[in-house]
Symmetry: C2
Subunit: 153 residues, 2 copies
């Protein structure tokens, strides 16, 4: 899972950097202090064939929940940084892997994702994670721009 950052240095590395902050924020005892970047991202990268094998019966893993939270909080923090509007995340996921994540600012929902198999949260590759993240950040920023008044309400 070695990732060639040189290809798209700016937006890629800023998303990864923001995500590392979020991962560390949920690691108050510093158990990840000695991990490399690759090792920190490893749990987020699960190939499609492996994701399909994760059973969706049984209560979902607490760590998977944390990872979902980290990913969407990263998006929120990046939208916040660039639009200067406070952005929050609210997550309601049942142990059965059903639920929703909303990212919002003011009265505006900038991202609304429904889960039916949250057990299987993961990305094919680091590139895909970053692309997906950046795409959601961009669409969030567009929404804030489009409905400025609501976002600042």
């Amino acid at each position: 899972m070695v990732y060639d950052q040189s290809k798209n240095m700016n937006s890629d590395s800023s998303f990864m950097q923001a995500m590392i902050y979020q991962i560390r924020a949920l690691d108050p005892y510093g158990t990840m202090d000695n991990l490399s970047t690759d090792e920190m991202f490893e749990p987020f990268i699960i190939e499609k064939s492996k994701r399909k094998k994760i059973p969706v019966v049984g209560n979902m893993d607490h760590q998977t929940k944390s990872r979902i939270f980290v990913f969407y909080n990263t998006i929120a923090s990046m939208i916040e940084k660039e639009t200067e509007v406070m952005v929050s995340v609210i997550m309601d996921l049942s142990d059965e892997g059903f639920g929703r994540v909303l990212v919002y600012c003011g009265r505006l929902i900038v991202l609304n994702r429904t889960f039916r198999d949250a057990h299987r949260f993961g990305f094919d590759s680091l590139e895909k994670l970053i692309n997906e993240g950046n795409k959601l950040v961009q669409s969030g920023k567009d929404a804030v721009k489009q409905f400025e008044e609501v976002a600042r309400a």
Copy 2:
């Protein structure tokens, strides 16, 4: 806790009726089928002095969570009925009684309530419950009207 409905029949009884639907929706085994209206609303009515005595240490009662859900779902259902926009509720409450409830439609958040002592959820009287409910329904409807485009996004 006998309540004189004749005073403000229309909006009061419609809020109560909508709330009874929500209570029954969470009672699939019909354990409340034989309760009177007063008995159904009784758990929602806790005098201020009694509320203050409810300890906020220790995990919060699952039934209190349900009651919060019922109250905000009632508001959502009434906004939905009158504006004809689909309205949803998302609730994220920790066992410590901290968290948030959002009521939203489309991309618009019509109600955002933060809890710091959800253990103590309750109203001084049935009048106060209904007044609070109707007030929130009204402000939700106003928000939908003001930001129609976002609500239908």
